[in-house]
């Protein structure tokens, strides 16, 4: 995909985010907020039998932060804990697909960091 197509892919996720909302009776829930730019995501998740049964997010902020949460929740859905732990920062950034400067990388990593914090409970780093 070229840059423009990739940007359209991001915008599509931003305008019509996947997995938006809040999981009822979640096993895990976390809010990440960047006070410097106001980006925020709340990720909620239901883990049963070691596997992500449901994962949703609500949030606000720039296109990158919100599209990133949409993409990440897609990726996480259905995975087991071990698979989740294996998702690296780089892989997540690659899945965004457009070249981000250091300040925009922070936006893209907001939801990623939320997920990683949840995983600490399950023995993640």
């Amino acid at each position: 995909m070229d840059d423009e197509e990739q940007m359209e892919f991001i915008m599509e996720h931003y305008r019509h985010p996947h997995n938006s909302g809040v999981v009822e009776n979640p096993t895990d829930e976390i809010t990440e907020y960047n006070p410097v730019c106001g980006d925020a995501v709340k990720v909620s998740m239901l883990i049963k039998d070691n596997r992500v049964q449901d994962i949703r997010f609500v949030g606000r902020g720039c296109s990158i932060s919100q599209a990133s949460a949409s993409i990440l929740t897609d990726e996480a859905r259905g995975k087991n804990i071990e698979e989740l732990k294996k998702i690296t920062e780089k892989e997540h950034l690659d899945s965004i697909g457009i070249k981000l400067g250091p300040s925009r990388e922070k936006c893209a990593l907001l939801s990623f960091n939320a997920l990683k914090k949840i995983l600490v409970k399950y023995g993640g780093e």
Partner: protein, 429 residues
């Protein structure tokens, strides 16, 4: 207008192939450099580079002379009575830290420092350092229009106010503050009056004796000069009485194992090898600005901000909000705006509707990224003025700021692009 197109030609950065279409609207952060400044620095490096005030050989004597001539030049640019009152430092930030450190030594618990809610972090944080010794920092509020609230100012000017430190021009709102009036009020109250000139000295005639301030701080890099050179102007007798800031070479007269004595002002405050090429470059920048005339510079920027506010009304972009006084007379060449606001998050009432809370807002990051794709460089963020953002009820804004190489074309390009961004973000909603 043709005059300003020609002036733009003096800036090599706009000649390079990749910057052909660059519309640079971030001069409040830092300015571009004209050829004359670049040449002055190169000339010094290629012909006279050596340490100042030290060598007893002609190269060093000439370098010292060039450095001191730069001081004289900057001194007369701001109307200072003598070059000895001009201290070369790194930037505004360092100048304000120097003041908080030195003047702060004389303050005791219960004393107050009065600043404003529209200050840059560099005129907030150094004063907050004093709070651990029981000194209170108070903040003058702004009016709805984004001007300094003078009633609040006089209310907060108390018998315990020892220092008043105010910006002359807000780097976010563009508001020009009545520093002469405030200086008079501060002095009548027995307070020291400091002016942060980072956003005024580059853009308008600033005369320290006319203002009557005790200190003025500003940065070379925002006024066509190199980065790493800044100025602290001070009243002679006050500079003489103050304790030094950094200790080291140059700032001493004698050093022995039983103690040291200080050099004369201004060298007392210039510890270590100074930024010689910076001072020389700044001096060339001052010459260049003098040639154009500071009143001319101010008129041009007033025209640009006037045109900006006019186009804002004409384009009438959905949800576009902007901040600061509407009267170009009361405002520098700074235009901060949002396409729908993003307020700071209240963690208790977060995501109440359990849905996306983007609404029709386009985040300032997205605004500047999109503008960047069209070669329009604006800054987005809190602009080192978090308390002001909070006061305005936003976490960030986008900001276009003008200087002498900008023209009405740039303003048009800005609004054309903003209109496009609005469409892209509305598309498919």
């Amino acid at each position: 207008m043709a005059q300003w197109e020609k002036i733009k030609q003096d800036f090599p950065i706009f000649h390079s192939e990749k910057n052909r279409n660059l519309t640079y609207l971030d001069s409040a952060a830092t300015s571009q450099k004209p050829k004359k400044v670049i040449d002055a620095v190169t000339y010094f490096y290629e012909n006279y580079y050596s340490n100042v005030h030290r060598g007893i050989y002609s190269l060093s004597e000439i370098a010292t002379d060039m450095y001191e001539k730069a001081r004289e030049n900057v001194s007369s640019f701001i109307g200072s009575a003598s070059p000895e009152q001009v201290v070369f430092l790194r930037n505004t930030t360092e100048a304000l830290n120097l003041l908080s450190y030195t003047l702060g030594r004389d303050l005791v618990a219960g004393d107050e420092v009065l600043i404003s809610i529209m200050e840059h972090h560099s005129n907030i944080v150094p004063w907050q350092f004093l709070e651990e010794r029981g000194i209170k920092v108070s903040y003058t509020d702004i009016t709805e229009e984004g001007k300094l609230d003078m009633e609040d100012f006089s209310r907060k000017l108390t018998p315990r106010t020892r220092i008043v430190s105010m910006t002359q021009v807000s780097n976010l709102l563009g508001t020009i503050n009545p520093v002469r009036v405030m200086g008079k009020m501060a002095h009548d109250n027995g307070s020291i009056f400091i002016v942060d000139g980072a956003q005024s000295v580059p853009h308008m005639k600033v005369d320290v004796r006319d203002i009557g301030c005790d200190f003025l701080a500003f940065s070379g890099h925002k006024m066509l000069g190199p980065s790493g050179i800044g100025v602290l102007y001070g009243k002679q007798e006050m500079l003489e009485e103050m304790h030094p800031f950094l200790g080291g070479g140059e700032m001493i007269r004698t050093v022995s194992t039983s103690g040291s004595t200080w050099n004369d002002v201004p060298l007392k405050f210039e510890a270590g090898t100074p930024n010689m090429e910076g001072a020389i470059g700044l001096s060339a920048a001052v010459d260049y600005l003098d040639e154009i005339g500071m009143d001319q510079v101010r008129d041009h920027e007033m025209d640009l901000i006037h045109y900006t506010l006019k186009l804002e009304e004409e384009y009438n972009i959905d949800d576009l909000v902007s901040y600061g006084p509407r009267n170009p007379d009361a405002r520098g060449g700074v235009y901060s705006f949002n396409m729908g606001e993003i307020p700071p998050m209240d963690m208790d009432s977060q995501f109440r509707d359990n849905g996306m809370v983007i609404g029709s807002s386009v985040h300032p990051h997205d605004v500047s990224s999109s503008l960047d794709e069209a070669d329009v460089a604006v800054r987005s963020g809190h602009h080192c003025a978090m308390p002001l953002n909070h006061r305005l009820g936003v976490v960030a804004t986008s900001r276009a700021s003008y200087y002498i190489y900008n023209t009405r074309n740039d303003v048009e390009k800005l609004f054309d692009q903003l209109e496009k961004i609005r469409k892209v973000y509305d598309h498919g909603r």
